[in-house]
Amino acid sequence: MCLAVPGKVESIREEQGTRFGKVNFGGVIRDVCLAYVPDVVVGDYAIVHVGFALATIDEASALETLRTFAETGILDEEIAELRGESDADRPPCPTGDPGQVRP
């Protein structure tokens, strides 16, 4: 959970006065809070940690980091964490959990 992964900002929107965006990590798109990178624009690369962009980074550095992460297997692990590990949507109890009827 300690690493921060670079991704490309694909869209930006505002919710409750806070900026969020869709960020592309090597093909996996995640919702990311952009509140801490007020100057970021669509097309920029940002370093993202636990759902928050913490810094922008130039494209060459971002691609270099992604290449290193991919080559060393780290990218797969981080993407698995982004994509698969969260089971927030899966209530553990098969009956009686309001999660079963959520829209």
Binding site: M1, C2, L3, A4, Q16, G17, T18, D31, C33, A35, Y36, V37, P38, I47, H49, V50, G51, F52, L54, A55, I57, D58, S61, T65, T68, F69, E71, T72, G73, E77, E81, L82, E85, S86, D87, A88, R90, P91, P92, C93, D97, P98, G99, R102
Partner: protein, 369 residues
């Protein structure tokens, strides 16, 4: 497990290591504070291509590992409370408490959810307004801004069934604690690059001055680590002790202004106990009074839990850098990632897990043969 030499950057890495060998005329012990860096060092065998006189000592920078047993036990008590949804990063689920872990609690019907962001936990609170949703807010300065924003958004959105079990910790007081510990061998530090994205670099110069140690802000990739080590050894050889930024492509001296503002609004410094190390003054953050309603320790009764640490596990010595993981008698025997005795064997950033996964079992130094 591939080593550095097998990658495209291998030749550059060996050149950097050779350069470090040319510079170093004495033995030096350098601590990498961050567990992510430990993982990268062991995974790529960076310690094995360094000249023998340059030793890396693994630091306490694994948030999962240093979360105190009493807090794990509180997490277990809160998660076992009927009607509660307990949301946590996945790493925390297998960390042993005094009696069991969150994974076992989940298996026996407790509603424990793995999330990859505190905002996922906040979403759960919005979706289940009749349940209490508690987020286990662990992590260093890199992670704390995420917790801060989740609390801010909860307050603004009137989400009252959301709270945090806060266990955030800070790097600079830990560096001071290492330097002041009896028998300390550490002569320089690699500071964690991602912590410094948020905090900047200026808070480290007073530590450099006070303890006369070089501190070099360093990234996580193999070449970043070697460059950080190279610059550290140059300072050591020249007798200098200053903060230096070897990761400027993402770290600025001033840090992230917006994140620092949020941290200052939501958190105040507090003393914290570090598992295996003990109490360190001013080494953590707790919620500021304005946000106290979001403090899970106020919503749930969690006092008076009797804690009981494993007698075999020496993770405290590992976290202080006093021993390397294979020097613990339980390492790879009673204690494995499948059946961990201590948190350092659980987390991907834990030094014991890093050695175990790299196959470094059975040699005292972790160097081959």
């Amino acid at each position: 497990m591939k080593h550095l030499a097998e990658y495209r950057d291998g030749a550059t890495a060996r050149r950097l290591a050779a350069e470090i060998g040319r510079i170093a005329t004495r033995r030096w012990a350098i601590m990498e504070v961050c567990g992510g860096q430990t993982h990268s060092i062991i995974r790529h065998g960076i310690d094995q291509i360094l000249p023998p006189g340059v030793e890396l000592i693994h630091g306490p920078g694994c948030p999962v590992c240093v979360t105190p047993l009493s807090t794990i036990d509180r997490a277990l008590a809160i998660a076992a409370t009927p009607g509660t949804i307990f949301a946590s990063f996945g790493d925390m689920l297998r960390v042993p408490g005094s009696r069991g872990d969150l994974l076992a609690l989940k298996a026996s019907g407790g509603d424990v959810r793995v999330v990859s962001s505190p905002l996922d936990a906040l979403d759960l609170a919005r979706r289940y307004p009749d349940r209490e949703v508690v987020f286990f807010a662990i992590g260093f300065e890199t992670t704390a801004p995420a917790s801060a924003m989740a609390v801010r958004l909860a307050e603004r959105g009137g989400v009252e069934n959301f709270s945090l079990l806060v266990s955030h910790v800070l790097v600079p007081p830990a560096i001071a604690a290492v330097m002041e510990s009896p028998g300390n061998r550490v002569q320089a530090f690699l500071a964690a690059g991602h912590v410094c994205i948020v905090m900047g670099t200026t808070q480290y110069q007073p530590l450099c001055d006070r303890y006369r140690v070089p501190i070099v802000v360093t990234g996580f990739e193999p070449l970043d680590l070697l460059e950080g080590i190279r610059r550290t050894v140059i300072q050591l050889e020249e007798g200098r002790h200053t903060i230096e930024n070897a990761y400027p492509r993402v770290v600025s001296d001033g840090g992230n202004r917006a994140a620092l503002d949020a941290l200052a609004e939501v958190f105040v410094p507090c003393d914290r106990t570090w598992r295996g190390i003990g109490r360190i003054a001013g080494s953590g953050w707790r919620l500021a009074d304005r946000y106290a309603p979001f403090d899970a320790e106020r919503r749930f009764t969690v006092d008076g839990i009797l804690t009981e640490e494993s007698t075999l596990c020496r993770s405290g010595d590992v976290l202080r850098g006093a021993i390397k993981p294979p020097e613990c008698p339980a390492f790879g025997r009673e204690c494995t990632p499948r059946s961990p005795l201590g948190a350092t064997m659980v987390s991907g950033e834990g030094a014991c897990a890093a050695y175990y996964h790299a196959g470094r079992v059975g040699t005292a130094t972790g160097r081959p043969g």
